[in-house]
Symmetry: C2
Subunit: 349 residues, 2 copies
């Protein structure tokens, strides 16, 4: 269906640009400018100048003593996985996804979530490595910054003032993220306008607009749950009973070299289509990640070994763009892979 | 293709509402509110309170002496047609469209445009009637308010301040419209954000969102030109040579009773789909008519026999919504009418 591929290109030609870079602003935009030139256009931007320079966190959060002191009586939730890939697709056999079986053999694995004293959480995250049998990532996305991490509130703004004025509301949720260089988040989208502020280290985003939905190969995968057995230091992966299906993006943008060819054959619309937008968000910068954009995230820690970020989720408008998206997604368009390596199109119209 | 009809409904359920009424504001919105709640959503609104009360025109333009005095040395363009339907579909034989031949026999007829002293133009518009063989409508859409009608500029605002601030620009064009109750404009869309201010009389709009494009049955019609022969008081209609095709909406929302059944059979998606939004704009009110919305307009004069309006065209953003629209329009979906009266679908996918 050539019209769908024309749509990918036209959105870039008209509005997003054909470079893979995200528009950079040297200072926070005025609310009206932010609304007109970015939110209304569903177009990302990176505020690289003076975005959070005034936050006490900018200096304080590089000091672990400050963090452990502030949170000395707090317990927080850490997410444990064998490889740092929380909320991602793994073979039902529980191994890593690197063996690339046909999608039917994959499940959507949620991390083992554990609430521990903050000092212990920080220790687990720091200790995370290929050797440690587990990777710990503090990434509870339930407004945790205003609950579990309440004592840190005074170190940051409670909202992004120019965004709150533009969007006409305060954030629906504010989340804190503490990870190391093993932590990554697979491609997905959120139904929020997202302002993502990095405080220490760097976050690396791959971004695709909602119009590229067919390139994500969203399929239903059975929900599964990791449990970490402390005694043996091993993970158990169990599919939820009764079975529950989660629609999730099938594409891993960085397959291992030995899998690259088979992944490119399975997901040609992703690997052969326009390159995703790329954006590294450095400490002190804020990324505006528009609602409904698909994003993949990995990170680089600072010299203390941590990447710490705060993100603000604002309610999105379920408007004409959203209805257009649902219409687009309702049109089936996937080159079907068969094992002769040839491809044919299926179109449900 | 059921997905297209679901789109019509979802846009109404999520954003526009299922009533046929347009959202009414009792006072002009703040720029940020206008941008967030209407422009960004591509959603119309009617500013019914204090929109143009401060314009000298509100009082002055009900006085013909004022108009003829101000424009005593101006000549303006009037558009002459046999029936008040400028820029509309008529049978190539030149009769009125009421005989409803198959679309192939219709052409897109432009009015006979004539530049005359303003007093004479006003006289022609007032004299327009079924008896007068012609209907005159001053509806030159080339920024005429700032050119032909320059001397009236001081009677109105040169732009709509809250709209200019929201949209970040001044109007690209400002047009004046002087008509009587025979003047009407067939369904079409404009690639502008439109602020439409009625000064005397009333304008009656039928509105359909861009997502309803298939309901307009847009087809290519040969361009034709009316010429009015003063001596005989008759119109000649000639198809342009070399032939030039104009894509235009095929639907007449108010067919004559004897044609209603055949029109409903030809255009079932329009007549059987969701009702269009209806909006009467009274003197002193401003309609925000979003870019890309299909609109049909007729009018009721005030007691002086005239309907006078000023509209401000602002540049639109060619953004993701516009790309989605082009994608939607590229999907062919028209129940094909055959003369047994049965229908089948054609789908180009």
């Amino acid at each position: 269906m050539k019209q769908i591929e024309s749509l990918w290109q036209e959105v870039r030609d008209l509005s997003l640009g054909n470079a893979t870079a995200v528009r950079r602003l040297d200072s926070p935009p005025a609310p009206l400018e932010f609304l007109r030139d970015f939110v209304s256009l569903n177009k990302p931007c990176l505020i690289s100048g003076a975005a959070t320079a005034h936050w006490p966190a900018a200096a304080l959060w590089r000091d672990r003593a400050h963090l452990t002191r502030a949170l000395s009586s707090s317990s927080v939730t850490v997410h444990l996985t064998p490889n740092g890939r929380a909320d991602s697709l793994v073979p039902i056999d529980g191994g890593s996804a690197s063996s690339s079986p046909p999608p039917s053999a994959l499940c959507f694995a949620s991390a083992h979530a554990q609430r521990v004293p903050f000092a212990e959480a920080l220790e687990m995250i720091s200790r995370s490595s290929r050797e440690s049998n587990f990777v710990a990532y503090a990434q509870q996305q339930n407004d945790c910054f205003r609950s579990e991490y309440g004592p840190l509130a005074r170190d940051c703004d409670g909202h992004v003032p120019w965004a709150s004025e533009a969007l006409g509301s305060l954030p629906e949720a504010v989340n804190l993220w503490i990870g190391n260089h093993f932590s990554e988040t697979s491609f997905h989208k959120d139904h929020y306008e997202n302002l993502y502020a990095v405080v220490t280290g760097e976050k690396h985003f791959l971004l695709l607009p909602p119009t590229d939905v067919h390139r994500m190969y969203i399929e239903d995968y059975p929900a599964a749950q990791y449990s970490y057995i402390k005694e043996t230091g091993e993970f158990k992966l169990e599919v939820e009973e009764p079975i529950k299906y989660v629609p999730w993006c099938s594409v891993d943008p960085y397959p291992s070299p030995e899998n690259l060819e088979s992944e490119m054959a399975k997901f040609p619309l992703y690997f052969n289509g326009p390159k995703p937008f790329e954006c590294t968000v450095k400490a002190g910068e804020i990324l505006y990640l528009p609602s409904m954009w698909f994003h993949y995230v990995k990170q680089t820690p600072d010299d203390t070994g941590l990447t710490i970020a705060v993100n603000y989720w604002y309610d999105m408008q379920f408007d004409m763009k959203y209805a257009y998206f649902n219409f687009l997604q309702s049109i089936e368009y996937q080159p079907i892979h068969d094992y002769t390596g040839t491809e044919e199109e299926s179109e449900d119209l």
